[in-house]
């Protein structure tokens, strides 16, 4: 280290902010515990919902089709819990990377996010059109029509939200990518 750097190092070291290490350790331990509790709660709640679906399928459902559907549905909370757990673990992987890799990861995450919402918007729109087609071309009685209308009414805000979210993310993407590029 040359003289200039040594001089700067001295000034730099002298201006180290005061950090209470023992308080920091306490805070970090509390945050870590909270994190671990949350992870376990995610897994346990997913398993609880899955067990509830299985229990209902076995003891309260009459038809084989409905039983099969409920049993298939029980996989959803389990998969969601596993996904949430893996997502939290992949956050740990990100800290191991060098800065370039981290920024590439963030760019890819943004592009994947947009792709996910694009796909969701398309799928939901197609499903909604399918529902409309069911209502329009398969009208049998008032009760059945009302059921399909209710389903469409419930689905409409979900479809709208997904489409709007996709459009907003698409608009915000260039600026978000530029922000990452500008970091370097």
């Amino acid at each position: 280290m040359d003289e200039q750097l040594k001089k700067w190092k001295q000034s730099y070291t002298e201006s180290t902010p005061t950090v209470d290490a023992s308080l920091l350790i306490k805070q970090v331990k509390a945050a870590r515990k909270k994190e671990q509790v949350k992870r376990w709660l995610d897994i346990l709640s997913g398993c609880a919902v899955a067990l509830f679906c299985i229990f209902t399928a076995v003891y309260y459902v009459d038809t084989a089709v409905n039983r099969g559907l409920l049993l298939a549905l029980s996989l959803v909370p389990v998969c969601a819990s596993i996904w949430a757990y893996r997502k939290s673990m992949s956050k740990d992987d990100a800290t191991q990377m060098n800065v370039q890799q981290l920024l590439t990861l963030k760019r890819n995450a943004l592009l994947n996010q947009l792709q996910y919402w694009r796909l969701s918007a398309w799928v939901l729109c197609l499903l909604f059109i399918g529902l409309f087609a069911m209502l329009f071309f398969n009208s049998s009685d008032a009760a059945s029509d009302k059921m399909w209308q209710t389903i469409m009414l419930v689905q409409a805000p979900i479809v709208a939200f997904t489409v709007v979210r996709y459009v907003l993310l698409k608009r915000a993407l260039p600026a978000a990518l530029k922000k990452i590029d500008n970091v370097l």
Partner: protein
Amino acid sequence: MNEHANIDAVLTTFTPLLGRIAASYETDPRLREDLIQDISLAVWRALERFKHESSLKTYVAKIAHNRCVDHVLKEKKHNDRLHNDVEDMDEMPLSNGLNQDTALDVTQAIQRLGITYKQVITMQLEGFSQQEIASVLGINEAAVAKRSSRARLLLEQWLKE
């Protein structure tokens, strides 16, 4: 080694390092405190995966810089305030809120640097070799030398003002 004893020892040893790295990215004391906590938590999580491919200090510094970059990306206001990717040294903007009559200290000058230069110079001041800096930042040693040279020119000019 017991997990808690390990993190106690690591944080006790490296808290000043984490404080200085955080201070080079964040000027707001409250946000800096949150950032230091965030870095410390990330270090704890990462300790389980430490494979001794580098020194523990290098590993901790890598995690700290990664979390700081993450913090910068999230704190848009912070990014606008600190980002100083100037091409022309003659047009360097004045630092926010600093009295022009007050000489900058080294830390304040480092805070003005763009992230590219900030990372290299802070790691040099912490005593890391060019090879270690290159591995943390994911660039080659020639790039480290170039950034270091540029950062030093900028710091020299600002500290003379």
